[in-house]
Symmetry: C2
Subunit: 252 residues, 2 copies
């Protein structure tokens, strides 16, 4: 008889292997199989145990159009063999991680699960800026926002965000940048509002690009951002050195 | 000549030592002095290196009314001796961590710094509920909010938060719970909106208490919450077992 193990949904953090939690690292090292997303870095995947199989849920076996159903089936099928399964997701699985669809599948299959949170990219990005997501006297709330949803560009409380001192970390915002700019300007946000682009937060190839709401689309195009990028709305890098160059500043 | 070390502002995460990042753990173990807040757990402080001095910025040497200026001075003075200083903050130092005042003092003193992000309590709390902070088809944004600010109870976009499907993690909300309830109901939030209280998120003494907007103040009073607590607005525990008891449910 095979004893079934709880499936561990594990956050890999923003990319730097040292930003894994101790708990996540241990789970990866004790797993029989790690089912990971495309965005989990090679340095992190190199930390799995010697007995661990890696399965790439971003493409393996399914071609370019891997569906959520395929991923759900992969997780459930592995667990039903008795394997210790780690479902490894970039960042924090509870933040824009499409965790719920996988949990539903696992629960429908009668399997147990556990969730191990990870650092979301916004925490790493803001630390790289030398800033805080919240600050006494400036903002008593911060929003984590996505640039698009199932219908296309996501709508948000633009009027509230347009007020002075508001801060938001905008995920998956590259394509939506001009839409976001337009909505915020229309609702009265000053064109000079800082917006900092953080590409590959926490990774060796991290880049910090300073813009304002007025210059955002042009600077995004000029910077040629190819990696995952966060828009940090309302925040400029604290360190003057990071804004000394006219447009694009690289930091390690 | 003494070489001055960059001061490391380090997030200790929500309390479980296994939710430290690898980077934070290493910084603690290599530090000469760790200056920590009152909320950093004893289990985490036990992980410092054998050569490390612990200084409690919550009370040490200053009595009950330790000021931010005292803490700033402690950090700067230690660094000026050439010590490797870790300033250890509960959760993520960039989220309601009063990081900026300390950074300003460090920069004014001409010292270097680095910020090592930590898991904020909301990530641990929502994982304990088996939920996500964001969910396709439900919410494309999540807010991290404080229950009070320098002026008293903090005001927020209650009208926006009152809409169906909104999710917020409300920090330091115990005293403000009745105020928050009143504002949200006034702006049309259904009384049946779930609000889950997570006390001591991720710690051995974690408690999850289910309420609704209608029952929140009564259940908070009945549950006798004494540890740090987050209100997870718009979220109920996924697991039916966690809501089976009428009011208070303890989970380990």
């Amino acid at each position: 008889m095979t004893t079934l193990q709880p499936i561990a949904f594990v956050g890999a953090g923003p990319g730097d292997p040292d930003l894994l939690t101790v708990k996540a690292l241990r789970a990866m090292q004790e797993a029989d199989v790690v089912i990971h997303d495309r965005l989990v870095s090679a340095e992190i995947l190199a930390l799995v145990g010697p007995q661990t199989r890696l399965r790439n849920a971003g493409k393996e076996g399914f071609g370019p159009s891997v569906t959520q159903n395929d991923i759900n089936a992969m997780i459930v099928d592995e667990a039903l063999t008795g394997a210790r399964v780690v479902r490894l997701k970039s960042g924090d699985p509870t933040v824009f991680g499409r965790l719920d669809e996988e949990l539903d599948a696992v629960i429908d299959a009668g399997l147990d699960y556990t969730i191990m949170p990870g650092l979301t990219s916004a925490s790493a990005a803001v630390a790289a800026l030398g800033q805080s997501l919240t600050k006494r006297g400036r903002n008593t709330a911060v929003r984590l926002i996505t640039g698009h949803d199932m219908q296309g560009y996501a709508d948000h409380d633009w009027r509230a965000l347009a007020r002075e001192g508001e801060v938001a970390a905008i995920y998956m915002a590259k394509k939506a940048a001009r839409f976001i700019q337009g909505r915020l300007l229309m609702h009265g946000a000053p064109p000079s509002t800082p917006v900092t682009i953080v590409e590959n937060a926490s990774r060796a190839d991290q880049r910090i690009v300073s813009a304002t709401l007025a210059t955002l689309p042009a600077i995004l195009a000029e910077a040629d951002i190819t990696g995952p990028a966060l828009l940090m709305y309302g925040l400029a890098p604290r360190d003057a050195a990071a804004t000394a160059l006219p447009h694009v500043q690289e930091m390690i």
